[in-house]
């Protein structure tokens, strides 16, 4: 009866083959494009690099080996260096923590205005989204360098730079979390005549708070790295100490600082994963 509508096996096979062929062509083209990009990019890199690739490869282990040798030679003194730079590390972490907290507060405010299900005015939503995009797009370093130039060397420019970037980056994630929140509790409260703030407080916040905290923890991790780098250009903390010992070529102290940094980053990683796992309830 429906034989007209049902495709014969031959047609299905033909379609399938055509589709497979099309896919094959697409994959082939994209692989070619990637290979072309790689080869041409590496050629440009080779041409414009100060040293050649081969020489660099042969020298790759020289520097780390030198550093480790020096650290080994300094013996017991090396452990003292680790403690010597601990206050710098704490100041860097504090810088990151404070700016993450401050940035998260700004992000929270911005994200409320960037969520379609909370604000009905399309212009406000678009405006706050665009402003978050701009805040997010500048690398922290660019903002920090300008503020460092204008305000002199201190931790404050780095804090401002990280706060700006964090507000943009977290704001986007926050607003997405709010928009993905279940609408039913909001509607339920609305049907009882709840005000805007009551709807936000009792229907939206309980749904999104775990997500918010988990995003903020991830940001904290990123910001610790960022504040180290900003220290490197003059914002204090362990980054500045690192840049100083690199200039003086104190191999043992360089290793001590790198050791501190790596330990910090790895333990922060594990700590934040543990906390996030507990908050969201899965172990990702």
């Amino acid at each position: 009866m429906y034989s007209d509508n049902i495709l014969g096996f031959e047609t299905i096979e033909k379609n399938l083959k055509a589709m497979a062929f099309k896919r094959l062509i697409y994959s082939f083209i994209s692989i070619l494009a990637i290979l072309f990009l790689l080869s041409s990019g590496l050629t440009i890199a080779e041409e414009n690099n100060a040293g050649s690739f081969q020489r660099g490869l042969s020298k790759f282990f020289d520097y780390p080996v030198d550093l480790f040798k020096e650290a080994f030679e300094s013996g017991w003194r090396w452990y003292a260096y680790v403690f010597k730079y601990l206050p710098d590390l704490i100041s860097t972490i504090n810088m990151a923590f404070f700016s993450t907290l401050f940035g998260a507060i700004f992000a929270l405010l911005l994200s409320l205005f960037a969520s379609k299900n909370l604000i009905k005015n399309q212009y406000i939503v678009t405006l706050s989204r665009r402003s978050m995009d701009i805040l997010r797009s500048f690398p922290e370093l660019v903002i920090a360098m300008i503020f460092l130039y204008l305000m002199g060397k201190s931790e404050l420019p780095a804090v401002i730079a990280i706060v700006i970037h964090t507000a943009g980056a977290l704001g986007k994630l926050f607003s997405e979390a709010i928009e993905n929140a279940d609408n039913k509790p909001i509607e339920g409260l609305q049907s009882c005549g709840a005000s805007w703030w009551q709807r936000v407080r009792f229907a939206v916040i309980p749904q999104v708070v775990p997500l918010f905290i988990s995003y903020t923890l991830l940001r904290l991790e990123i910001n610790v790295r960022a504040s180290t780098i900003l220290g490197f250009v003059g914002a204090g903390g362990i980054g500045e100490a690192l840049s100083a010992v690199i200039q003086f070529r104190y191999g043992d102290e360089i290793i001590a600082i790198m050791f501190l940094l790596v330990i910090t980053i790895i333990s922060l990683d594990y700590f934040s994963r543990f906390l996030r796992g507990r908050l969201i309830g899965d172990n990702k």
Partner: protein, 452 residues
């Protein structure tokens, strides 16, 4: 019975609620104390005082305006020259329309758009006709070749706030756009105008003064400006070899930075994916390999991009390789870890279905696992591409080259702020372009179900 139960439930809920509130208040309080303490520690209340106001206003002004320097030496008052931004090689051949030389009484008048004038005489400089300034000020040199304001010797405190007289210098700034500096040896006037002058074509170019659209139409004009080369080439060459804006170097540096990000991410994802397979328990039965790879990922990720770039900087010197490898090494760790987790979370049934047809191990992974992880792989790679574009700028500034280093250089010179702004805008545009492109690509490759 029911009543009692209800009462118990209510009490329990009440208790829990109270406990909850108490915890909330305590954490809130702790955070508040921390916030206040840190605000004091980082000295946020004194934010306004920390600004170097002169620098900040110069910076802001230089970003959207350009200036011409008019200089007169007291020893040779007839030779007054006008230079663009005070550059040694940028002396105007013809006087601009706002500069009038009067041969009769040997004076030279610099006109401003608001009607004000600075008039150079061989022995003095006069200030006339500025709006809201009724008194004509006259600046002269005394016997010891020190500058002074006529009529205000010894009464410097009575000068208006926009004028500052010290022993060796008198500085006059009626508004942001006019500035006069009188020294013992010379007088210098800065005349500001809005806009980025010579952005398209520089001072000595045959196309000087042409705007963007003029240049475009000239490109396709048959009548050659320079008989030796075609107009198209001429326009492109003159644009790139702009000596004031250095389009050539800046744009190439931007390309370098983008290449760093793209190649670094590409290498990371190409190396990271196979390693991720080897690190997943449902693919690799050998736990020793898995353990080794897991620790490798942790190490690559834990040694921060900063440290990697320092190590590579020593080996490869400043250049693209440093950036590419610093990004590739860090992200191989991150992507490897993420992807191995994704592979472990794949649905077993797909693979078993393929297995039931008698396919070998490789085919099982190809058709049982890869289709499941491909969307995650693509979206994660693209996400890292976005963040690496920013990272490449940062690594560049620390020595790897690219736009980051140029940005730092322009900022450190202390007077090329328009170039700083130009590069900042370029970075902003590039980052936004990459963001939009990767979002588009993601939607194209994975479909609409992935909203992020």
């Amino acid at each position: 019975m029911e009543q009692v139960l209800n009462q118990n439930v209510i009490d329990a809920v009440d208790l829990k609620h109270k406990k909850h509130i108490r915890i909330l208040i305590i954490t809130g309080f702790v955070f508040l104390v921390y916030l206040i303490g840190s605000i004091l520690h980082f000295d946020l209340p004194n934010l306004a005082k920390k600004w170097n106001k002169d620098r900040a206003s110069m910076f802001m002004l230089d970003i959207y305006a350009h200036k011409d320097h008019i200089k007169m030496n007291w020893k040779d008052p007839q030779k007054i020259d006008v230079r663009f931004e005070g550059g040694h090689r940028h002396v105007y051949k013809d006087d601009p329309t706002w500069l009038i030389r009067n041969k009769n009484n040997q004076s030279t008048i610099v006109n401003f758009d608001n009607g004000g004038q600075f008039v150079f005489f061989p022995n003095r400089v006069e200030m006339r006709n500025f709006p809201n300034i009724n008194e004509p000020f006259i600046f002269k040199l005394n016997k010891n070749s020190k500058p002074y304001v006529d009529g205000y010797v010894g009464k410097e405190s009575m000068l208006p706030s926009w004028m500052r007289a010290t022993e060796n210098k008198v500085e006059v700034r009626p508004s942001l756009y006019e500035r006069l500096q009188v020294y013992g040896s010379k007088v210098e006037v800065h005349r500001y105008e809005l806009g980025w002058k010579y952005f398209w074509f520089d001072f000595d170019s045959p196309l000087v003064g042409k705007g963007f659209f003029d240049a475009i139409s000239l490109m396709f004009n048959e009548n050659r400006v320079d008989p030796k080369i075609s107009n198209f080439n001429l326009v492109v060459n003159e644009f790139l070899e702009n000596e004031i804006w250095h389009h050539n170097t800046v744009l190439f540096a931007m390309v370098e930075t983008l290449l760093m990000a793209i190649l670094g991410t590409l290498i990371a994802s190409m190396v990271g994916l196979p390693l991720a397979f080897l690190a997943a328990y449902n693919v690799t039965p050998l736990s020793s390999i898995r353990f080794f790879l897991r620790r490798l990922f942790d190490m690559l990720r834990g040694i921060d991009m900063l440290i990697w770039s320092l190590i590579f900087l020593r080996a490869f010197g400043p250049g693209l390789f440093t950036g590419i490898f610093a990004i590739a090494f860090t992200d191989t760790g991150t992507l490897g870890k993420l992807m191995s987790e994704a592979i472990e979370n794949t649905d077993k049934k797909d693979k078993e279905g393929i297995q039931s047809t008698g396919a070998n191990k490789v085919l099982q992974h190809r058709f049982g696992i890869i289709p499941q992880i491909l969307p995650i792989f693509i979206s994660q790679s693209l996400y890292y591409l976005e963040s690496n574009t920013r990272a490449a700028v940062i690594i560049g500034a620390m020595g790897a080259g690219g736009i980051g280093l140029h940005f730092l250089g322009a900022l450190m010179t202390g007077n090329d702020f328009e170039n700083v702004a130009y590069m900042a805008i370029l970075v902003l545009v590039a980052v936004m372009c990459i963001d939009t492109m990767s979002a588009k690509l993601r939607r194209l490759l994975i479909g609409i179900e992935d909203k992020k």
